[in-house]
Amino acid sequence: VGHDAEGDVNGWKRSGRGTRVRLVGSFDARETSVLRGLLTEVRQMLAGRSADHPADELAVLTGIRTGPATRPNDRVLARLLPDFTAEDADLAAGLRSLHEPELIEAKDRAAAAVLDALPVGGGRVELRPADADTWRSTTSGWRWAPRWTSARTCPTPSPTTPAPRTWRSTSG
C-alpha cells in the first residue's frame, strides 16, 4: 500500500450541500495530456483483451458471456484483471472466465467516464460524489501503468514507495 502524498486528495475542493455537493479540481494542459494518454492506453489494452476473446454465438444468443480462462501475459493487464484464487488453478480459471468480461466492461466504462470529464487542454473538473468514486477506482487502476508499460517488469512491492503526485491540483 502506498503512502498518501500531501496534495493527493487535498487538491480537490468540496462545494455545495446535500445533493448539490461537488468536488472541484483543475488540471493544467500537461497533466491532462498525461492522464488522457494513460486512460486511452488502458482502454486500448482492455479492448485488446476483449478482442482476443470475442463473444461466441451462444453468448450472443443468451447474453451470458464468458471470458478467457487464462491470465493475461501482460503484467499490467494481469494486475488489472487478477486471478480469483491462488490455491486452485481450476477454480481460478473458472471464475476468471465467469467474471472477466464484466470486470473489463466496468473498468472501461469508468475510464471512459473519467476521459469524458477531463477537458482537452486542461481546465476545471467538477464531480458529483458518485463520479468521484469512479475516479478513485480508475486512478488506482492506471496511475502505475506507465511504470510497468515502460519497463515491463513487475515493481517490487515496497512499503516506502512514494505516491506519485498525480492528483495535485494546480488551483489549490
Binding site: D4, F84, S137, G141, R143, P159
Partner: protein, 103 residues
C-alpha cells in the same frame, strides 16, 4: 432487442426441512484476502473497505495496516458465493484480492 435470458440458478442442494441438515458438514468458510501492493494508497484501501463492507473507519484502517505491514489481510469471510462476489467487487475497485478456504 430481445429480453435478456436470466442466468441459470443452481438447484438447491438440500431439501427444505431436511432432518439430515445437522449431519451435513457446514460449508467450509472462505475468506477474501487483500494483498499488499505499492499501487493503492493507504487512504484509498481504507475507503474501499469502508464502502464495500460497511466497516467503521477504525476497523478498515486496521485491516489496511495489516495489508501494509503483514503483506495481506483477510477482509471478509463467508460462504463461497459471498466471497466470490466480494473478490469481484474488490477487483472492480482495483485492489489485489483473492479468495481462499479457511484452514
Amino acid at each position: 432487442m430481445s429480453a435478456p435470458i436470466p442466468a441459470p440458478t443452481p438447484a438447491p442442494t438440500r431439501e427444505p426441512g431436511s432432518e439430515h441438515a445437522q449431519d451435513v458438514a457446514p460449508d467450509v468458510p472462505w475468506q477474501a484476502v487483500v494483498w499488499n501492493d505499492p499501487v493503492n494508497l493507504m487512504s484509498y484501501v481504507t475507503y474501499v473497505l469502508q464502502k464495500l463492507f460497511g466497516y467503521p473507519e477504525p476497523k478498515a484502517t486496521a485491516l489496511m495496516l495489516d495489508v501494509h505491514h503483514k503483506g495481506k489481510a483477510a477482509v471478509s469471510s463467508g460462504d463461497k458465493d459471498k466471497i466470490e462476489g466480494d473478490v469481484a467487487r474488490l477487483h472492480a475497485a482495483g485492489l489485489w484480492a483473492t479468495m481462499q478456504k479457511v484452514t
